[in-house]
Structures are given as C-alpha cells and as structure tokens.
C-alpha cells in the first residue's frame, strides 16, 4: 500500500465522520472533504491510503511553510490560489500539466477563471477545486418586517453607500435588529469586504506590474470609511468574532451576515431546523455600491509540493487522489462554493442545489488579488491595520499609511527578483 499525506485546513472532524463513506451524509467543508478522503481510502483499487492532517486555519500556512522549510513537505496540500505564486516562483510545487494528461484530468473542462488562476509560465501548477467568494446571507423575515422588500416581496439590497446606510437605519428603527453581522475581530472578513468595495470603485490595492502598494488611494480611503461608518453607527458589532457574528445572524439578531460561499449549506440546514430563529434564509450576490461589479474571491487549489526525495509511487498515488477529487467536484460545491468544472456547473444536479440560483452573478464578478508574491503577509498586515481602526480607533489615515509602508517593504523583495 502507498501511504500519502494530505495537508489541509477546513477543520477537524475525523471523530464525527470516523468511518463514513456516504457522501450524502456529509455536511460542510470539513465533513465533505473528510468523507471524500474516507471514501477514496475505502474504494481505491491501488491500495492507496490518504492520511489526512488537518491544521487549524489560523496557523495553516505557518505549518505548511515550516514543513516545506523543514524539508518534510506533505505529498498533497491544499492552498489558496492567491498563495500559489509564492510557492510556484520558488519551484516548490510540481508542475501538473503533463501528469493531468496522464491520469485523465481534463484541463479544458476548467472554467477559464479557474484555469488561469493555476497557470503560470504556460504550465498548470495545481488542481483548482472551487471558486469561493463573499456573499450576503440574508434573513428574509427581518427584511420583510423592516419593509425593505421589492415588489416581489424579496429582500431589497442597497445600490449605493448612502442607500446602505438608509436601509440600515430603517432596519434598526423598524425591527430593533442590526443590519449587518460581520466577523470583525481576528478575522479577514471586513478586509475582504473592503477589497470588494475598492474594486467596485475601479481601484486596487497593489499595482501588479510595478509591484507597488496603493493603499493610500482615494478608493481605499472610501472603502475603509464606509466600514467604519457602519461600525460607528452600530449597524455592525465591531467586537464580533467569527462565531459571534454567525451566532448573531442565526439567532435573528442581524439581518445580513457577510460571509463566504462556504456558509450557504450550513445556514440552509440551520434554517430547516424548526427550533431555529432563522427561518427564511436567502442568499444574495454582493451588492454593487459603487458602480463596477466586483466581489472578493479566491480558490481552493490542491498542489503537490516538490519532494526532496522524489518517490514515483507516491506521486502516482497523489495524482490518483487529485483525479478523484476532480471527479467529485460537485460534492465539494455542495458546501456553497462554486465548482470549477464547466461540466459540473452546467449539470442538473448542480442546479438542483438549494439557493444556488440566488447568487449566479458571483461567478462572473468574482475578483482576486493580482498574482503577486507575499500576498498573505500583505493580507495579514492589512487585516491588522484595518481592524485596529474600529477596534482601537486608530486614525484611518495612519492605519493606511502604516500599511502602505509595511506593504512596500514586503513588496521590495518581490521587486528584487
């Protein structure tokens, strides 16, 4: 038997799904990937055993780096598309184009945005797995109660910053509930929202060509201002962390939860529970406040880290598993993420999934960070700085100035090579 190691985040649920191989029983990111691995281990004919190592999301990349740096990389690892350049530029991941051809992964079936995300220098470097981005998860009942509905009785979302604030005031006045719930502490969510708004204004935070930071631009200031206005007015609780924000939404204390595609399945399931305070759950694409449609997005992708001692059997086993994952792309999409295979997107079973019709535009307006190195360092620093504007009332200009300076120093290395 060939044992290969799989390195991933998505949480640990090996106990809950200890021996489950029935995909229909699996819920959520963790459940589905766990059951996929179980199923593969149970059913593959080559005696391959995939050993999963699940690492907490917050320290995942530290761990991955440490493993790669320590010359003990896993055989397979999940990562975000935005991080790939770091590894690809340094030659730390296997090129996969040729291998995909051998094992029968059809590269042509990938939707273009996904394929481009994993391509560089005319080579494919990873298996794209999904496209995920921000959504507005909506408690329709509260919108009805606040009268924020269109003619069809559907929740009506704002079309400009001013309208957003008006709606939020209305919500507060009519229902006593907060308009927004957003994880604002130790979480990247507000930063992703901020990015979306920067892009909606036609701006950006880095110049990919010149490899320069643009954090003090007027678009950047405006996006940050809007966020802080919302917090200041009490339309979102600045102290919520991920769990608290989610809890506020599920218990009907907030009308909109800003969270990713991965939540759809979970919230839908919650809403079906008769005891739940959230009864009428719907999903919406990120509303366009500034004119240009855009929403932050990223992809989960699978890479085969370069081994210091290449092992053909393991490589083959890893590729077999990648093929298996690609074949089950649909099941991953059940989490709420968008599938990356055109054939899956178009399939009937896909269309049959709940709420999917409610955020069809996301696939087209999804925007990612430009392909530069050190994205993660950049994001971490941005998250910290932005958070501090509402958490400790750091002046917004100062936060952006600090970010600009730090980002420049990070990008320096990127410019050098």
């Amino acid at each position: 038997a060939t044992e290969i190691s799989l390195f991933r985040f998505f949480g640990g649920c090996s106990d809950e799904y200890a021996n489950v191989t029935d995909l229909s029983k699996a819920v959520g990111e963790c459940g589905i990937i766990q059951v996929l691995a179980n199923k593969f281990n149970a059913e593959n004919k080559d005696g391959i055993v995939v050993k999963t190592q699940s690492v907490e999301w917050g320290v995942y990349y530290d761990r991955l780096s440490a493993n790669v740096a320590g010359r003990t990389p896993p055989d397979i690892a999940v990562m975000h598309r935005s991080v790939l350049p770091n590894y690809q530029v340094r030659g730390l991941v296997e090129p996969l184009g040729k291998h995909f051809a051998t094992v029968g992964v059809d590269v042509a079936d990938f939707v273009p945005v996904a394929r481009e995300g994993v391509s560089a220098n005319g080579e494919i470097w990873a298996l794209p797995f999904d496209l995920h981005s921000l959504l507005w998860h909506v408690n329709a009942d509260l919108f009805v109660k606040a009268g924020l509905v269109d003619e069809k009785g559907q929740p009506k979302l704002p079309g400009s910053p001013e309208e957003l604030l008006r709606h939020a005031e209305t919500m507060k006045a009519r229902t006593g509930k907060a308009y927004l719930a957003i994880p604002s502490q130790a979480d990247p969510m507000p930063t992703w929202q901020y990015l979306s708004w920067v892009w909606q204004q036609g701006g950006n935070i880095v110049d990919a060509e010149k490899r320069e930071a643009l954090l003090e631009s007027k678009e950047s200031r405006e996006a940050l201002r809007l966020l802080n206005v919302l917090y200041a007015a009490g339309h979102a609780n600045r102290k919520h962390d991920y769990t608290a924000a989610q809890q506020a939404f599920l218990s009907g204390e907030a009308a909109v939860l800003i969270n990713g595609t991965w939540g759809v399945d979970v919230y839908a399931a919650q809403a079906r529970n008769p005891n739940s305070a959230l009864k009428n759950y719907v999903v919406r694409d990120m509303p366009n406040l500034y004119g240009k449609e855009a929403v932050w997005s990223d992809s989960h992708i699978w890479v085969l880290p370069k081994q210091s001692k290449p092992d053909a059997a393991k490589l083959k086993a890893a590729l077999t598993f990648l093929k298996f994952l690609n074949d089950h792309n649909f099941h991953w999409a059940r989490t709420g993420h968008l599938p990356v295979r055109a054939s899956v997107l178009a399939s009937a079973e896909m269309r049959a999934l709940p709420h999917r019709s409610e955020y069809t535009r996301t696939a087209t307006i999804a925007t990612g960070l430009p392909p530069i190195q050190y994205q993660r360092a950049l994001m971490d620093l941005l998250i910290n700085e932005l958070n501090s504007t509402w958490l400790i009332n750091k002046p917004q200009d100062k936060a952006l100035a600090n970010s600009q300076r730090a980002a420049s120093s990070i990008l320096r290395r990127s410019r050098r090579r």
Partner: protein
C-alpha cells in the same frame, strides 16, 4: 497573644487565596469529567462529578494523543539522560581537572547562558532544515543539550565535593574515569536528581522549539499536540474532550511533582546559589 492572632488571620487569608488559586484546575478537571451535552447547557459549578470518562476514552482511542505521550516520554527521558551525562562529564572536567585553557573554555561556555533560545531559533531551524533533520527525535532533543545551565550546576556541585575523596581514590590507584564513574557520579546523586527533574520538567513542557521543529503530527509532543487541538476543536463542541486532554497532559507532571517535591524545592535553592 497578639502575634498568634495575626498569624491565624494570615493563615486564613492564604487558605482562601489557595482555594482561588486551585479553582481553575479543579474546574477544568470537573469539566473533563462531564459529558459534552451537559457542558453545552452549562459549565457552572464544580460538583457533582465524575460523571463520565468518555473524553479520556476518546482521547486514547481516536486521536494521536497516545503517540504524543510516547513522543514526550522519549524526548523527556532522552533529553534528561543525555543532559545528565554531558553536564556531569563537563562539570567534572571544569571543577576538577587542571587542563590548559580551562578558564577560557569555562567562560566561553558560561557566556552561552546569555543567549536566549529565541535568538537562535531561526538559524537553528535553518540549520536543521539543511540537514533535513526536522521531525526527528534528534531535532527535538539535540539542540536542547547545548544549554550550559546543567554544566554550571554540576561544576558548582563537583567543586563542593571534598577534594580528599578524590585524593583517597587516587591513592587507591583509581584512574580518572574510574574516579568519575565510581566516586564522583554516585556522590552527585542529589545534584543529578535535581538537575534531572528540572530537565525533565523543562523537556515535558517545552513549547517554542518543538512547535517549530515538529511539524508532523506523528512527531508532536504532548504540549504541541495540545496546542494544535486548542485551535482545531471549537470550544463549543469538544469542550470536555479538550479539557480532558489538558488533564491528561498534566497528569504525569503532577505525579512527578508530588513524588519529587522535595528535590524540586531543593533545586530551586540550588539555582538561587548557595
């Protein structure tokens, strides 16, 4: 008498403080013995317990905890044994053998006391990466053998051993190695015990270096493994389990502490210098 009244008052106050001091541990112990379903409802109170040992069973059954325990045991014992050996050999040489350059070498070694582990964390990692030695028992143990504290303590101890003993052995035709092995080592049992316990405690609780060098779960020590669980298990679902793992990881230390308390206190007196 006034004096004794004051003493009693102080004693009462301290007993109260001790109770508060123990609360967190007792509470955690109690949590670890209650079923998760109950914990979801309420975590208040300490009694009644125990109600269930399921968390401990789970700990041993499905997780890597037994493996981490084994790693911790190997690392702690390995580090302790080797530290004792290296420190006593070197301490003996510094204390008792007159060789050229001794003073200079001793100063060089003692200068190492000034170098904190964090200062060499990064280069050490880079070095072991070059050797492709991460995630091995070697990488968990070897860098910790370089600390001069043990050598310092053993040097101090051997210096205090009456010189006559060694001279008597010399008159008894014993060689250097024989003197070291048959006379000095057995003599230094109290010092070795103390140093051993401290090394063991340190090894068992070590965090920063193992977290950096042990990146594969199979090679985690208990303290690193526990750290990784803290993130992976949301406090909501696996609270009892999480608390059980804390109890589990501390149990050996508590036992060690109870058994060797005398030496630990004695060791502190030793570190404070004599």
């Amino acid at each position: 008498m006034n004096r004794t009244f004051g003493d009693r008052l102080i004693l009462v106050l301290v007993i109260g403080a001790a109770f508060v001091w123990m609360m967190p541990m007792l509470w955690v112990l109690s949590l670890s013995l209650r079923p998760n379903e109950e914990l979801v409802r309420s975590t208040a109170g300490i009694l009644p317990w125990p109600k269930t040992l399921e968390h401990f069973a789970t700990l041993l059954r499905v997780s890597l905890t037994p493996r981490w325990l084994l790693n911790s045991v190997i690392v702690a014992f390995g580090m302790t044994a080797l530290t004792l050996l290296l420190s006593s050999l070197a301490g003996y040489a510094f204390a008792r053998i007159d060789f050229p350059g001794r003073r200079a070498v001793f100063l060089l070694v003692m200068a190492g006391l000034m170098i904190p582990e964090q200062a060499i964390l990064v280069p050490l990692h880079a070095m072991l990466a070059d050797w492709e030695m991460h995630n091995t028992y070697f990488s968990l143990i070897a860098p910790r053998l370089a600390g001069p504290m043990g050598v310092f303590l053993m040097t101090q101890f051997f210096k205090a051993v009456p010189r006559e003993l060694e001279e008597a052995a010399e008159l008894d035709n014993a060689s250097r190695l024989k003197i070291f092995w048959s006379v000095m080592l057995p003599l230094s049992r109290p010092a070795l015990t103390t140093l051993g316990i401290f090394t063991f405690l340190f090894a068992w609780n070590d965090f920063l270096w193992p977290v950096v060098t042990a990146t594969q779960p199979e090679m985690y020590t208990l303290s690193v493994g526990l750290g990784s669980l803290q993130g992976n298990f949301a406090m909501s679902e696996g609270l009892g389990f999480l608390m059980a793992s804390a109890v589990f990881a501390s149990a050996p230390m508590v036992i060690l502490y109870v058994v060797f308390q005398r030496y630990i206190v004695q060791g502190i007196t030793l570190t404070s210098g004599k």
